[in-house]
Amino acid sequence: MEKTHEITLVEAINLALAHALEHNPDVVVLGEDVGANGGVFRATVHLREVFGSRRVIDTPLAENLIAGMSVGMAMQGLRPVAEIQFMGFIFSALEQIIDHASRMRHRTRGRLTCPLVLRAPYGGGIHAPEHHSESMEALFCHIPGLRVVTPSSPTRAYGLLLSAIDCPDPVIFLEPNRLYRSVKHRLFDDGKRIPLDRCLTSRVGSDITLISWGSMMQETMLAAEQLAQQGIEAEVIDVATLKPLDTETLLASIKKTHRCVIIHEAARSGGWGAEISARLMEQGFDYLSAPIQRVTGADTIMPYYQKENIYLPSVEDILAAVRKILP
């Protein structure tokens, strides 16, 4: 139970990885440049020095290989925690994720399982080149057998990642790279888990429910503060575990507020907001005073960075959606 200074989200990831490596001999960290370089975002910095190259492994440059080997290692009882350098480079791993990671338990009726974590930074807003700004979480959320988790703060990153590593099933752990260094929390390396499969209520309110996750939680909280100045109390829910979805918490909130805006960075159509919206409408229809709104990225390719600020949802976009459905 070591005291730490204020740390960033990426440092919290590093702390959680170190904690898991120290407390569970089955944990293995692998990926491109995770060793000497400590990861391109430094999420794995110093881990190899401390835990050795047998447990902190630089792989050849092949994401499909990283995923497939993680499946193999997990079936052998290891707990691979693999880094995919950016979400934009995870697509060649989808076959392994869909065909094997998510299915092995079902296929073998529990004989072989895949307790693995695939970590990937995601999202725009860091002025990066093409393919470094993807928000494709919805692809994973549609795959039965997976868990999809994304933290929105250093504290949540630490607690959720530890839970993801504990999880007996595969977890896609998406790290909002826009938040990697922009927020700091004081946090204790006490191994305290934040449970998966639960939404986290970041702000209590009774006038409207704002639902978001990952980096858009920043804009969402800012919007809630501005609304508060106007006397409107928004409840803000950080979904945190996107799949499976904690419908109960979300539903309870809209039963109270009767209004809801979902905010995500990903393209609108078929984004995870669609599922949340459809589900809340199905189960909470009689409580809704207005249609659920979605504030999202456009159904376009994320433009190169000069235009990414137009693409990314803004506080103003959220406020506009709220205004649209407030009485």
Binding site: G68, M73, H100, R109, D197
Partner: protein
Amino acid sequence: MTITPAVHIPLISYLTADGQLADSSPKCAQDFDQLKHYYKNIQLSRLFDKKMIALQRTGNIGTYPSCLGQEAIGCVIGSLLQAEDVFVPYYRDTATQLLRGVQMEEIIAYWGGDERGNHFQNNPQDLPWCVPIATQLTHAAGIATAFKIRKQDHIALVTCGDGATSRGDFYEALNVAGVWNLPLVVVINNNQWAISTPRRMQSATTTLAQKALAAGISGIRVDGNDIIALHEVLTTAIDQARAHKGATLIEAVTYRLGDHTTADDASRYREKAEVEKAWQEEPLRRLNHYLRKFQAWDDEQEKNWQQACEEKIQTAVNNYLAMPPQAAEDFFDYLYAELPAELIAQKQAFCLKAADQLTKN
């Protein structure tokens, strides 16, 4: 400037198609107990394979990929691996699986559309069938990595077809096996066809074994219908892997005597003459000739063994047919370690539906 580097990988072969032994042949050529063991298991898997096709034709199971003609490869792999090793099959591995301890009932159930076929009660560390071509290669590399991390002396052995060698993951797995010096053996069942696509349309290489050179690992080409050559080559490769001396790619040259699967009609795309020629080279016949020449096998033994096989097979079929159906909710219960809250209602709905369908039938 010469720009095409030369490489020559010979075909290792000792027992000719008509059962003659080459002059210099390995010790195992005289180990008639071992050879009889192989013979009997080729015969057993061939008879079982035949029954599987019959079960498909009579609507008792679904599509089945016969391993007719390739059984020698599987019998040697299945016999030489140790229990703690992990066998990573593709989908045409009936022969190997029987020797690894997979129950006939399990094999029938799998192809009969029942997940319980993957229970592998006798060999729970082995991987189940793998349908998406070549995706199992990286699993084997991961398993071998786990052995290496834990400093265990086990190995992983993975099989695939000739078609699989065109897929990227095939190379990715070989490459990591080389650079991490993994305890891994990769066996290509080069049966000359990938459904309707002939071997020559997959790759311009003279051999498939030479693909090992792209990974810096050992590469061997062996007559996959020659049990003696297979025994020697696989022993060498497995020993090498177990001694942490490097991974090996083995190209076992054989022939797919049957259709690709029961859903296929190979006469659409390949010549009868080619198949007839291949029948002259299949593994059982040549081993039979050889054993008989040395009085290690006779008609009486053949008759008794076939009868024993048929009985074993029929018992398995009966057991399979008597299996109670899987519970409908199983596909919810084995999805995650614990059923997530959001799926509880879905599970109830599907259970009701299943009960409903049951009453209606």
